[in-house]
Each structure stands twice: as C-alpha cells, then as structure tokens.
C-alpha cells in the first residue's frame, strides 16, 4: 500500500510525537539532574506543536475519511480527544517539573514515557478497526505501567505498577478474547463494516458473549464496578502527577474507544448491552461514592471519586441512541479532565511526606496558608460535585438528560442522589481548608504547577458560565454514523 501525501499529513501528529519521544530519550543522557527542566520545556513544546498539527488537520478538507484501508480515521471525534489528551500531557508535565526534579530518578525517561503514552492514546482514538484499537491500547498501557512504577525505590510505587500491569494485562486478555469471538462470527475487523454486517443478521449467543467480553475489557479500562479494584491502589501508589495523568489521559482514551466501538459497531444490540451498562453504571456510582466517604487518604478518595465519575459517564453510553448520549460524554469528559486534573494538581502542591499518603488533614487551614490555592481547590470540588455554575454541572446535566431521555429515569434519580452524597466527601476537604487550623506556614507554589492549576480553574469556570461555544463545538464532534 502506498501512502499519499494526505495520508502522511493525517498520521503526522502520531509520527511527530513518536519522533519527539525518541529524541527526548536520546538527548536525556546529556542532561544531568540539574538541567532536567529543559527536558520538561521540550516536552511541552513538542506536545504543543502536536496540538498545532492536529488543529491544522481539523481544518483540512476531507480529513474525516478513513485511511490505511479503513484502520485509521481522524474525524472530529478523534480530533477532540487528541487535543484534550495532548492538553492533559502538557498539564501533567507542568505539574511534574518540581516533583520529578526532586526525585532521585532521571527525568528524561519520565517525559519520554509520557510522550509514548500519548502516542498510544492518539492512535487509540483514531482506531477504526478492532485490531488497530487493541494494538494502540497496548502501546499506551505498557508505557503507563512503567510510569506508575517510576519511583522504583518506593515500595508502593512498585506495587502500583505491578498491580496495574497484572490487572491491565488480564483485562486486555478479556478484551482480546471478546474481539476474537466477534471476529470469528463476523470475519471482519473494521467498525463500520461490522455495523453494516450486523444490520442484516440476527444476534447469536456467541456474538453476545463476544460483545460482553469486549464490554468487560473496556469497563476495566474505564474503572467501572466491579472491575475497579485496581484503581485505588494504583492511584495511591503512583507518583501523584502520574496519578493525575492516569485519572484523565488514559481514561479519556478508554472512553473514546468504548464510545467508538459501541456507538459505531454495536448499536443494533443496544437493547442487550444497555441494561447491563445501566446496572454497571448504578453499581459504579454507588460503590465509588460510598467508598469515597470512608477514605482518609486524599488520593484514595479522589480515586474512588473518579470511579464514581466513570459511573456518571456511563449514563451517556446508555443514552447513545439519544441526541444527548455521545454529545453528553464529550461535554462531560471535557469538564472532567480539567476539574479532576486540577484537584490532583492541588494534591501535588500539598505534597508533604515524600510522595505517598496524603491525608485529608494535610488540607487543614489551607485557606490561611494560601488563599488562592484554597479557592481554586474549592472550585474543583464544587465542579466535581456538580454544583453550578461550573463545568461539572453542565457535564452532569447532559448525562442526566441522556439517561432520562433513554428511559432510565431510575438511574437518573440514583445519579443525582449520588452526586448529592458526593458533596459530603468533597466538602470534607473544603471544610478542612477553610474551617480548620493548619500549621500556618505560607505555602508557595512553583510557577509551572500554578500555571497548570490556573488553566484547569479557568476552563472549569469558563465552561460553567459560558458553555455555549464549547457545547456547540462538541456537538460537531459527535461521530456521524450512516
């Protein structure tokens, strides 16, 4: 197969980012610990250039057409995710500079791995074929396992990496098994071809088992109950900037492929998997929120909170047949990326005991130590709890709407009640920040971390107050199915 110029163009973000990662890896040997900040700067620069390329492609006429024999597609849906994921890489880098600088491990590999994870994610969201999606998923996963264990001297970090690896590999196996069953029935791998084929056939049990295994594998990746048990340990053990990244970047990618596979290939069997997803969503929201109530460690609390948020996002999956389903997921994930990353970034700021175990009491008296940090954290917490006028409210509004429209009123009721419950643990942090006395020493933030936090805060507030431009742009990013 010969690649045309436009094929090269469509592939250029991934290729550029790969080259950038390799470049970083090769030059990092020339930089000692002291000059690592330059590597971080390069990472941000390369990622920003990649965003530029992606944006350029989005203006390129005819970019939606699948290339590489239908395996790779750069539609608006993919472009949205690519930009958002690249932004999350920039944010992660900003949040990592001081953190990695203080750690006794070489920083070059860290940033290179971050970029390789990014490459995997970019390929994932463009995957239009079961095999290309799977390969990209593994590329992303392998890099992220290493990131989780980046603090190799810390036992918790190693444990996190191992847990992440074992369970990740297991879920990939489940996913692969499902893919093979579907392939065995259909004899093809492309998502649109599958949809076309299924339109004319009756469901069979083998096919349904295949679909369910794919679903299970993907629910593992998005951390839905009962496939969530790895999340708290991994989130707690991994270095905090990495945790922040895990909670958004790979999550976005996982949601993107879940959406693409089920929205494009399996809409016909919605009645079969819809109820299962509904039950999983209900369980995820309940378990995530209730378990978060009991946590004393902020990272674990936010881990459970992100599980709960995975449950809300599933409401959009249930609503795929309505106008608000996929649209709602996009709006919600946009909001989620900024608010959740922002909350974790504040945990990075408060890093007190090396790298692990941040208890809620570390937030005590933050309002006196650094008022801006406390107010910004409050914004993220309000947004996570879905209080208007924040991005989180707009996102949740869409998802609740999708669930109502899809006929799952009971699920919507559960979701709103659970989001009221979530307020209780989010506001434990708020209460600690504003009502309790801390150690009183002023808290200084680094410029890079401040930048990351402020980007998140501005986005969270702006999308909440003036959502119109954003939601309208995202409406255009919904996948067009024939």
């Amino acid at each position: 197969m010969k690649l045309s110029a436009s094929d090269w163009l469509l592939l250029s973000p991934e290729l550029f980012l790969t080259a950038a990662g390799l470049f970083l890896l090769s030059i990092s040997v020339f930089f000692g610990k002291a000059k690592e900040e330059f590597l971080a700067f390069l990472t941000i620069l390369f990622t920003a250039v990649t965003i530029g390329i992606v944006v350029f492609i989005s203006g390129y006429h005819g970019h939606e057409k699948p290339i590489l024999g239908g395996m790779f597609v750069v539609d608006n849906f993919a472009i949205f995710f690519k930009v958002l994921m690249l932004v999350s890489i920039i944010l992660t880098t900003l949040a990592s500079v001081r953190f990695v600088g203080n750690a006794p491990y070489p920083g070059g590999e860290y940033y290179a791995l971050l970029l390789f994870t990014g490459v995997g994610m970019l390929f994932m969201v463009s995957g239009n074929n079961l095999i290309s999606i799977y390969v990209a998923l593994e590329l992303m996963a392998l890099s992220s396992y290493i990131l989780a264990g980046y603090f190799k001297g810390e036992i918790k970090s190693t444990e996190a990496a191992l847990k992440y690896f074992v369970l990740g590999a297991f879920s990939s196996g489940v996913l692969l098994y499902g893919l093979s069953l579907v392939y065995g029935i259909a004899g093809r791998m492309g998502l649109p071809e599958l949809a076309k084929l299924f339109a004319g056939v009756e469901k069979s049990n083998v096919l349904l088992v295949g679909i369910l295994l794919i679903l299970a594998g993907l629910l593992f990746k998005v951390a839905a109950v009962p496939f969530h048990v790895w999340v708290p340990d991994v989130y707690e053990g991994a270095p905090t900037p990495v945790t922040a990244f895990f909670s958004v970047g790979p999550k976005l990618a996982a949601y993107a492929i879940l959406a693409r596979i089920f929205y494009v290939a399996f809409p016909k069997f919605h009645a079969d998997w819809g109820l299962i997803v509904a039950v999983v969503a209900a369980a995820t929201m309940v378990v995530g929120n209730v378990a978060a109530l009991l946590q004393a460690n902020v990272k674990r609390m936010l881990a459970y909170s992100s599980i709960a948020h995975a449950g809300y996002a599933l409401l959009g999956v249930i609503g795929f047949r309505t106008e608000f389903g996929l649209w709602g997921i996009l709006v919600y994930l946009l909001a989620y990326t900024f608010m959740n990353f922002g909350a974790f970034a504040l945990v990075v700021l408060l890093e007190t005991k090396g790298y692990a175990a941040e208890s809620v009491s570390d937030f005590n008296g933050l309002a006196r130590r650094n008022m801006t940090a406390a107010v910004v954290m409050l914004v993220f917490l309000l947004s996570l709890a879905g209080i208007p006028p924040t991005a989180g409210f707009i996102g949740k509004y869409y998802l609740f709407t999708a669930a109502m429209k899809a006929g799952y009123a009971w699920l919507a009721v559960l979701a709103v009640l659970m989001s009221a419950v979530s307020l209780f643990y989010y506001f434990r942090i708020a209460a600690a920040m504003f009502f309790l006395e801390g150690d009183g020493t002023p808290l200084k933030s680094s410029y890079t971390l401040t930048t990351a936090v402020l980007i998140c805060a501005v986005a969270t507030v702006l999308v909440g107050i003036a959502p119109q431009p954003v939601v309208e742009a995202l409406r255009a990013c919904v996948i067009q199915t024939p």
Binding site: A367, L382, I387, P388, P389, F393, Y397, F400, T401, M404, K405, G407, A409, A412, V413, V416, L417, S419, A420, L423, F424, F427, A431, F434, F435, P467, Q468, V471, E472, R475
Partner: protein, 539 residues
C-alpha cells in the same frame, strides 16, 4: 426599564451590584484594611437597596405579565436564556432581600472580628445569588442561582458559626442539595415533555425552552400522573427549603449555629425561597396534582403538623436562638397552609406572611444576636429582668415579639388573619388547628419574653449590660417601621400581591371551594383594610 430614552437592565443591576462590590473587595482591599472593607460592603448593599427602590415605584400594579423583563440567549444549544423579570411576589421578596442585606452587613460590624474580608465577600455573594433566584424567569438560570446560593451560606455557617458549626453547615448543605437535585430531574422531564417526549410520554414538539412562562403552560397540560410525579420532584426541593415538617431538622441546627447575620438572612430570605418555589412553580405548574384530593390532604396535613408540632417543640426550648428557629417551622407552616388553601385570601395571606416572617423573625434573630454579643450565651435561664437594665432593647424585642405573635396593629396579624380566613373557607378544621398554633405561638413568645425581661435581675452578669447602641437601633428601626406600616395599612402590599395570587387561583380555578368575599375586596378597599387593622374584620 426605560429612563430618558435609555434602556436600563435594572434587575441585573440590582442583582450584580453586590457581586461587583465583592469583587472590588477581593481585588482591591487587602485583608488588613478591615475598616475599608466594612465601609465598602455597607456602601455596596446600600447602593443595591437604592437601586431596587425604583422597582417598587415603577411597578405597574394591575399588569398581568412579568415586568422589567431582560431576555438574552445564554446556551442556545439547550434553549437556555438569560431571562430576568419580576411580578408582585418577586418584587416584595427582592425588596426584602436588599433591605435585609443592609441589616446583615451593619449588624456584623462588631460581631465579626475574624477573617472579615472573606466574611463580607461571602455575604455580598450570597446577596447576588438570592436576588438572582428571585429575578430568574428561566428554569435553568433559576436552578443555577438556587444551587450556588448554598455555597456562601455553607461557609458563613461553617467559619463564623458557634460550637457545632461544622455539623450544622454540612447538614444544611446536604439537606437542601438532596432536595434540589430531584428538582433538576423534574426540570429535565418538563423540558422533554415540551420537546421530544420521554418515557413513553409523547412530546409536544416545541422548540427547546426553559422559560418559566412557557413551561408553566406546558406543565398545566400534563397528564395527571406525570403532574403528580413532577409535583413531588419539585416539592422535595421546596419543602426542604421552607422547611415543611418532616424536612425541618436541618433548620434548628443551621439557624442556631450560624452567625447573627447568617441567621437573619436564613430566616428572612432563604426560607422564602421554598415558599416562593411553591407559589412560582408548584401551584401554577401542577394544578391537577395539587387538587388531587390525597395530595392536597397530604400537603395541608404537613402544613398543620408543622404549625402545631413546631409550636409545641418551640415551647420547650432552652436556647433563645433555637426557640426562634423552631418558631419558624410553625410560622412557615402557616404560610404553607395559606398557600394550599388555594383561594385568594389564603394565597395572598401566605405571600404576605412570607414578608412578615422575614421582618419579625429576622428582627428577633438580630435581637438575640445583640444580647449574645454582650453575654456570649443564648440560654434563657441565664437571663431575667433584662428590661430594667436595657429598656430600649426590651421595647424593640416586645414589638417584634408581638409582631411575630400576630397582634393586631402589627404586620403578623394581617397575614395570619388572611390565612385563617382562607383556611376557614376550605374547612373549619384547618382553621381550628391553625388557630391552636396561634395560641401556642402567643404562649411560647410571651413566656420567652417574661423569662428574659421581667422580674429581678438574678444573674449578676446581667447587672451592667449596656443598652443598644445607635448603630444597633438603626438596624432595628426599619423592621419596626415596616411591621407597623404593614399592620396599619396593608393595602399597598395586597395591591402588589393581588395579580400573582389571582394567577394562581386561576390556574387551580374551578377546582377550589367558593371564594371568601372579604379577601377579594380588601385589596381595593383601603378603608376596609385599616378597619381590619383595628381588629374589627367585617364578614
């Protein structure tokens, strides 16, 4: 509003003046300059009040629609508009809010000594959010203000409250939030019913909108079963806020633990959000639901239980602030009873009583706050014989106690009388139980007064209490004047409240019992109104 050829968005100005003041304090005043912060906060609320005054004079009394309307698209993708406008009921509540804003700021000068900058910023933010709630004519916008209002109140209670403030703050937030999220689903359901339908209900196919006016018409045409579901979705949000029995348990904690200004705002304005919700949404939107016998019986029963149970619990309170807090449960039971009487007299009385309760209970909280500043205790048993030491204080307290009791010549009487009249028109027993509440109300208030003010000073700590300062009196005078004005000459209030009440009666019309004549005529007959005030109501 047109002024000299210029169109002025007066409602937005009234709403956002406090926000502007808050931002100015945040960005321009360092926290050490407490004097300047207080001055700016005071200037802001006074400016807000002055900006809201023209509303009262320019408001067209007989006009059936909303006035001072501002309309601009906000989220066109969803059909959400930035839509402000008021009718009579929002008018009086807006004025009450701007006035209470001044009182809340001024009464905090000495009470709040810590973290003053944050305090005044939060107070001003709260002011904006409350005003926005009353001005909104778009359900989505309303919901945004309704929810975000909880945040500053949470912090006011949590930072500047008394001993159990953390518990009270989160309880307040969770209770009200839990109620209002279900309302959000109700709003979504209405939205879909108006557009594409859901859950087997066929939609009307209209363009998406959250306009309260349009959705009210849509909701009135809903099938009864759906109306009842939606009524209860909205009901929970409003009933918790009112609070109606049995959703009232957050109230004593929040009121008692909040700082004085917080209690005043809570009692005077925040509780009115719930009753306002009933008259703005529940009744006009779901008339078939509310006239369904079992629903109405349930509502009235809850209101009456609130009145009687609230009053009985009030009787046994040992803490002054808690006592007044519980009395709110009883008083708001009255408001709800009047509203659910579904006739002119009851609804008008209920609306008026919303304002009255704000004046009298807000004032009582203010008074308790003043003595608390002097003695740092709220226990009734710590006091006794205060009248000798603080005659001025005792006088103000007496006037507001009498106003709260519903003594003729004062505002409470007019409201309670109209409510009783409305209730009586529906059923003798409703009025009977409500009247029991009035008797109990007189009992707990007079007993409170007697224990605190009469007798000899037994506690040496009370021997040298200074009487009220001019500043403190300044916060009380407007309330007393209002109480007297409404008590003596309620016609202007009834004039303003008549149209919205008529609209509600019309919405539930034909389904209610016969109208009592007096209530229909009173608003247009000033003589009768003043005659009423002298305690000689005519049949």
């Amino acid at each position: 509003m047109q002024l000299m050829g210029l169109w002025i968005p007066i409602l937005s100005i009234v709403t956002y003046v406090p926000l502007a003041g808050a931002l100015a304090i945040v960005f321009f005043l360092p926290k050490e300059r407490t004097g300047a912060i207080r001055t700016l906060a005071t200037a802001t609320v006074i400016a807000g009040f002055l900006a809201s005054l023209p509303l009262w004079f320019l408001f067209e009394r007989g006009h059936a629609g909303y006035q001072f309307v501002e309309l601009a698209p906000w989220i066109p993708s969803l059909g959400v508009d930035y839509h402000f406008g008021i009718d009579g009921i929002s008018l009086v509540l807006i004025l009450l809010t701007t006035l209470m804003g001044i009182i809340a700021v001024v009464c905090s000068y000495t009470a709040i000594t810590e973290r003053q900058k944050e305090y005044y910023v939060l107070l001003l933010l709260l002011q904006t959010f409350m005003l926005g709630t009353f001005c909104s004519l778009d359900l989505f916008l309303f919901y945004v203000f309704w929810e975000v209002m909880l945040v500053p109140m949470y912090f006011l209670i949590g930072v500047w409250g008394s001993d159990r403030r953390l518990y009270a703050a989160i309880k307040f937030f969770l209770y009200t939030l839990a109620g209002s999220v279900l309302m959000l689903l109700g709003i979504i359901a209405l939205y879909f019913y108006n557009t594409t339908g859901f859950l087997g209900y066929k939609g009307l196919g209209n363009a998406p909108t959250f306009s309260i006016e349009k959705l009210t018409v849509v909701a009135q045409g809903l099938p009864v079963d759906l109306q009842i579901w939606l009524f209860f979705a909205f009901f929970l949000g409003f009933a918790i806020k009112v609070p109606m029995f049995p959703f009232h348990t957050w109230l004593p904690d929040a009121h008692t633990e909040a700082p004085t200004a917080g209690s005043v705002i809570l009692a005077a304005v925040l509780l009115k959000m719930g009753t306002y919700g009933f008259v703005r949404f529940s009744l006009p939107m779901f008339p078939d639901a509310i006239t369904t016998p079992w629903v109405l019986t349930l509502m009235v029963t809850l209101a009456i239980v609130g009145i009687v149970y609230g009053a009985m619990v009030t009787l046994v309170q040992k803490d002054m602030k808690r006592l007044i807090a519980y009395s709110s449960v009883s008083h708001l039971g009255f408001v709800m009873l009047g509203v659910f009487a579904l006739n002119m007299s009851g609804i008008q009385g209920g609306m008026l009583q919303m304002v009255n309760h704000g004046i009298s209970t807000g004032g009582l909280f203010l008074l308790v706050g003043m003595i608390y500043e002097r003695r740092h205790t709220r226990l009734i048993s710590e006091y006794g014989g205060i009248a000798r030491q603080m005659p001025v204080y005792a006088t103000y307290f007496l006037i507001l106690v009498l106003s709260s009791m519903g003594l003729p010549l004062l505002n409470g009487f007019i409201g309670e009388f109209a409510i009783l009249q409305g209730a009586f028109a529906r059923s003798f027993w409703w009025a009977f139980f409500a009247a029991t509440g009035i008797v109990l109300g007189a009992a707990y208030l007079l007993w409170l007064y007697q224990r605190v003010f009469f007798g000899e000073i037994t506690n040496p700590a009370n021997a040298n209490l200074p009487d009220l300062t001019p500043r403190e009196q300044l916060t009380l005078v407007p309330l007393v004047l209002l109480a007297l004005w409404i008590g003596l000459y309620p016609k202007p209030m009834f004039d303003v409240l008549r149209v919205p009440s008529e609209k509600i009666v019309e919405a539930v019309g034909g389904r209610t019992a016969t109208e009592p004549q007096l209530a229909r005529e009173r608003p247009s007959a000033p003589v009768e109104a003043s005659g009423l005030a002298e305690g000689t109501p005519r049949p």
